[in-house]
Amino acid sequence: MNDPRVRGIVYQLLTLLVVVWIGVEFWTNAVSNLERANIASGFGFLDTTAGFGIVQTLIEYTEESSYGRAFFVGLFNTLIVAFFGIILATVIGFLVGIGSLSRNWLIRQICVAYVEVMRNIPLLLHLFFWYFGVLRAVPGPRESLNFLDSVFVNNRGIYFPRPEGGDGFGLVLILVAIGIAASFFIARWARKRREQTGQPFPVLYWSLGLIVGLPLAVFLLLGMPLTFDYPALKGFNFRGGIVMIPEFISLVLALSIYTAGFIAENVRSGIQSVNKGQTEAAYALGIQPGPTMRLVIIPQAMRVIIPPLTSQYLNLTKNSSLAVAIAYPDLVSVFAGTVLNQTGQAVEILFLTMSVYLTLSIITSILMNWYNSRIALVER
């Protein structure tokens, strides 16, 4: 026992033994408990008819659909909340983060206050505030807030007109896609050329022209082949158009406003981490403040910003599970809530739910690590 190597092996074997013993104990208990409670085991339940409705479905789903399909409905609802939440949180977070370094005293104070207040209030409270406090206070369908007779806001959600493309509208969409791809390549080429020759290239105007201008011209030439399905009040509720349900809106708002407070701090510390000498050197070379920020400060700050930003994106995605508190049909609410209550198969359902979040975590961190390694500072 005096040999550290032998001691290490003994300790490890003991630990392993304890872990295995706990695992076996849990397993045998679970099997006998499930048998006694007459709960089926295995994943066979995924093919059984669900028999409950879901208010927001991105894929086709009826009460006759299976539990397996309900799982995917919940998963997609989680992903769409995360998607919009991340975009909104990034925009607000960067604005507030840059604002809290502004030379303008008033803007700086407002941004600092935003960060302090938002970060120190629990997310669940944010969510309740938007859902029960604000969106419930909006009038009912008959007294909807009306914007230009096409967008209606009431306590059932926000109703937008749904665009319906006519002949040739597909061409416009294809042009937009081509425009996006082309701008991507132009941006790469311009960057390379700038690095080699120092010649700047107006990438923004070219991209705008390709993504918006050209498709718009074709769209007008074709005689505007686009009609809208306007929402209209029929009976007690609105019909037609696209609806964003209040649960979705409050979840996205709460998640992004809360997470933006954290992102703002990451952005601020990232920009502050760039040595002042970099700015001074850029000014000494005669570079204007705008390009200095864009070409000197931000690229260096991004190295510091990206890793914590990744964690914030992951947190936001995981926090979208708070949806269960306001019954937005996300993965946890639909699958670990309703389906679990109906089938009682806690082990399988929680295993599947947790695996989804683990997989999302792993995919995000792989993508972000790849991006991080690309932009990381190469020293020596």
């Binding site: 290490g8 300790y11 490890q12 074997l13 630990t15 392993l16 872990v19 104990e25 849990f26 208990n29 679970a30 006998s32 408990n33 499930l34 006694r36 502004s102 030379r103 303008n104 005293w105 008033l106 803007i107 407002i110 302090e116 207040v117 970060r119 120190n120 209030i121 629990p122 997310l123 669940l124 409270l125 309740f128 505030f129 029960f132 406090g133 419930r136 206070a137 995981k318 926090n319 599970s321 708070l322 269960v324 508190a325 946890v332 670990a336 679990l340 806690a346 082990v347 929680l350 739910t353 947790m354 979040y357 683990l358 975590s361 792993i362």
Partner: protein
């Protein structure tokens, strides 16, 4: 030779512009350029949108007295503060029996009595203080709150609620997660492969899943894993879940600190002949923990905010009990809910920002000048 000497005096320069005073400050900070002025106007407009309406709701149009919903039912009424006043006891104790509430008070005061000298750096006997807080105090608190011994009536945890539950969950989580997290962090950096893998697996799994699923697991799955007849209290299961969850986050914070300790410190300790635990306890951990105080406090704050999630599995914490009281018909007004939420937000804000202020103060105090800046 011609001398170039000025014969008449040069006219005096005008006095410099204001460099001090309100106007000069405003010129420099608010109106230094066109874009700056526009930003100032934008900021002022934002404040104009928010501040007057908030003040009007919370103070000028608010109701401050009354003992029922009638007082808050006026047209254009703002916040309904009497609701908070009337329900304050519930918010603090939940459904804890009226005649037993002195036990909660005593638990609270004994805790504060131990905590305040701990937080003030100049008070001596820190070690004994810490021992009191970590060993006898939890036992006393447990015996006082649950009862059932020493002639105290037993109070089941299903009667606990409000701030009591919030503090119990948060403090247990904090106290349990710090040592567990340190152990996990040491395990993650251990040279023994099996222990390292187990620790990495544990940390990554807890960090990869949302707290809600962990709480669901504690409430529906954990009972399945226990032998027949063994039941755990719901609150206790939730405490276990919260402690495991936050210890994984704590482990990562501590790992950061361990990585920041220079190699020479390890080598120095080994050269003195210290064994692993002595090296860690006396040399490495004090340095590592000091550098990550902000991170530790951040995870305390996160944990405190996350305690609100226990309401989803049916425990009535502070937020849960406030929400429960909205259903009281005696106080049902359009303003009740929003008043309750704003009150809860203020309480959480005060506690969380208090913690972060204290951590900044500690950081400055413990700063031994080892930093570069």
């Amino acid at each position: 030779m011609q001398a170039f000497v000025r014969t008449e005096t040069k006219p005096a320069l005008p006095p410099p512009g204001r460099t001090k005073g309100v106007i000069a400050w405003m010129q420099a900070n608010l109106f230094s350029s066109v874009s700056n002025t526009l930003l100032t106007l934008l900021g002022a407009y934002l404040l104009y949108l928010i501040v007057p309406s908030v003040l009007d709701w919370a103070l000028f149009s608010a109701t401050f007295t009354g003992d029922g919903r009638e007082a808050c039912l006026r047209d254009g009424a703002g916040a309904c503060w009497p609701f908070i006043d009337a329900k304050m006891d519930q918010f603090i104790y939940g459904r804890y029996p009226l005649e037993e509430r002195w036990r909660v008070d005593w638990t609270f005061f004994l805790g504060v009595a131990g905590l305040i000298p701990m937080l003030i750096p100049s008070v001596p006997y820190k070690l004994w203080n810490a021992i009191y807080l970590l060993v006898p105090y939890p036992v006393i608190a447990f015996l006082l709150l649950t009862g059932g011994t020493f002639g105290l009536v037993e109070v089941e945890t299903s009667f606990w609620g409000g701030m009591l539950v919030t503090l119990v969950v948060a403090i247990t989580g904090i106290v349990a997660s710090l040592p567990l997290g340190i152990l996990l962090a040491l395990g993650r950096r251990s040279e023994m492969p099996i222990i390292r893998m187990l620790c990495i697996g544990f940390i990554e799994i807890w960090r990869g899943v949302p707290l809600i699923t962990v709480l669901f697991m504690a409430s529906v799955m954990l009972p399945l894993f226990l032998p027949e007849g063994v039941t755990f209290d719901k609150l206790l299961r939730c405490l276990v879940a919260v402690a495991l969850f936050s210890s994984a986050y704590m482990a990562e914070v501590v790992r950061g600190g361990l990585q920041a300790v220079p190699r020479g410190q390890y080598e120095g300790a080994q050269a003195l002949g210290l064994n692993y635990w002595k090296m860690m306890v006396f040399v490495i951990l004090p340095q590592a923990l000091k550098t990550v105080i902000p991170g530790i406090v951040n995870s305390f704050i996160a944990l405190f905010k996350d305690t609100t999630l226990v309401l989803i599995i049916g425990l009535f914490d502070f937020l849960g009990i406030i929400q429960l009281n909205f259903t009281d018909p005696e106080w049902s007004t359009p303003q009740t809910a929003i008043t309750g939420y704003v009150f809860a937000a203020m309480i959480y804000f005060v506690i969380c920002s208090g913690m972060s202020q204290y951590s900044r103060y500690m950081e400055r105090r413990l700063d031994t000048g080892h930093r570069n800046d």
